[in-house]
Symmetry: C2
Subunit: 318 residues, 2 copies
């Protein structure tokens, strides 16, 4: 059997939907789909069902499944594959890797969604060849993957990278997490919507707030705060971690130059005595989770060398 017929399954589990893929050893996605995370209230059963369906796709294409990678949000014990806590999934102490391996009949490796997306950007995306960087994803909320000397910062309890909740404004506005002045109170989709509504009484999605920039004082004001607080957070990370690069992903980056131009300027202003690391756009977007999960699965199967040959273009074609 040729190596091209070995495949892995990859699932990126989110709070509302999960993405699944079948990826062959040459990095080609045979199949990518999306389905609800929790259709009948049993997320584990939904993931197992998804793995079975992806297996069938692989079999129909003549590929042998050598393993799977499943990534989730939350605090993860990476040693034993237990999800210690995931608020989005309402999980506590779920032995995910053991449960999925038993149900699947092939090895399943598990990981953290954002850290795995960071791995994907490092292998195939905007951080290719970069050893010290942060991937910051800004959507409804904010999370980050911190990579130092080529390795992800996991933290003692698997909870590193809570960039959205670093306290940037002493005594600042209340966060849903119970703290005050968190970065994502100001610099996130939910934050933009809430703060724009507080000024205008009008509830708009973040992209509609961005669309009003330049012609709406309230939009300009909440956007300026978002950029300033995000720049403060990136300056903080620069001084603590000394990265060479920031990679920004998530829906917030759709603002394009309206985000990146002032953000880069504010970051440079905030760092008086050292250059600001460049701020790049993530290349793999919302595909990064399953791409990284597939890479984890190949590595876990002892086929890490396969991953080195992948090209991002193969994915955007998938």
């Amino acid at each position: 059997m040729s190596g091209a017929h070995e495949a892995v399954l990859a699932i990126d589990v989110g709070g509302t939907s999960m993405k699944g893929a079948v990826v062959t050893r040459d990095g080609r996605p045979l199949h990518v789909d999306r389905r609800p995370t929790d259709p009948g209230g049993d997320t584990i059963a939904a993931i197992v069902g998804h793995l079975h369906d992806l297996s069938a796709v692989a079999a129909a294409a003549g590929a042998t499944v050598v393993g799977a990678g499943v990534v989730t949000p939350g605090m993860i014990d990476e040693e034993d594959g237990t999800v210690v806590y995931a608020s989005n999934l309402d999980w506590r102490d779920v032995p995910l890797r053991a449960l999925l391996t038993r149900a699947a009949g092939f090895p399943v490796v598990t990981g953290h969604d954002v850290r795995t997306a960071g791995l994907a950007e490092q292998l195939f995306g905007a951080a290719r060849g970069v050893s010290d960087f942060l991937l910051v994803t800004i959507g409804t909320g904010v999370a980050a993957a911190l990579v130092t000397a080529g390795r992800p910062v996991v933290g003692a309890g698997g909870a590193a990278g809570e960039f959205g909740h670093i306290p940037m404004v002493p005594g600042g506005e209340a966060c849903t997490c119970g703290q005050r002045g968190c970065l994502e109170v100001y610099a996130s989709g939910a934050g933009l919507t809430r703060r724009y509504a507080a000024r205008t009484g009008v509830q708009l999605p973040a992209e509609a707030v961005v669309a009003r920039l330049g012609g709406d004082d309230a939009a300009d004001a909440v956007w300026a705060d978002a950029v300033a607080v995000l720049a403060q957070g990136l300056a903080t990370a620069t001084l603590l971690m000394d990265p060479t690069t920031f990679v920004l992903g998530g829906g917030f980056t759709a603002a394009g130059d309206a985000l990146f131009d002032p953000l880069r300027a504010r970051l440079s202003e905030g760092l008086a005595w050292r250059p600001a690391p460049p701020v790049r756009v993530a290349q793999l977007g919302s595909e990064a989770g399953w791409i990284g999960a597939a890479a984890l699965a190949f590595r876990s199967a002892g086929l890490g060398e396969a991953v080195r040959g992948w090209e991002p273009l193969a994915f955007s074609a998938g």
Copy 2:
């Protein structure tokens, strides 16, 4: 020759003075001394002279010098042992390891003073057996050693750990570094002195400000700000790195319970949804630099196993 007769030299180079030691393989310091860093304007010559004198001490004790460890402040390229920039020493691109090895006639390993102090606390002090922690030293200024999964965070340019300059107060008071609202503007010896003087017109050393707590509103106010900003910084590091422990060193910790009690309370208040890591006092104090440098030298000489047997008590007796 018995292993007990092998020794390393260790020097911790500071802006005004440097500490030197001769340490035998069993971890016993045969000799510890301190001398000015820059008596005649040539710091490299002063370090080389110090190494020669320490060698003579070792020889007189019948010990064979198998190497030396020299640690300095600044941005350090740990690959090639170059000090890229050290403002205290007025150095730029000094190939320290190569210069010292050539002059000394035995292998010299170099390192960063605070990261090496972190290693010493990890091996022998308050972070013994801890894989994820920060050592934060608060004296005139503030610096930190970040350790994740047992490894120090060095950063791409050797500049990680600039905890004193993370921007904690948006648009806050000016720092000597050119930025505004840096942590050490509020939470350092120099910060206490400056802020107390701004309120009272009286210039006092930090310890005198601390001595007035409870009976002097200005002292109480600047101290409360220092504790609040330090707690905010520790909360930020907790959320980014997920450490199990903070170790605080430097002159600021002489305040004792007046520092640690409110700091622990503020840190817990600032972390709404996760427990605060314990905050401990550093055990090796100002000796941590040369102790860590000695450990680096033994490791570099292939005698890392010697270091594992050391006991902190051997040092306090030295």
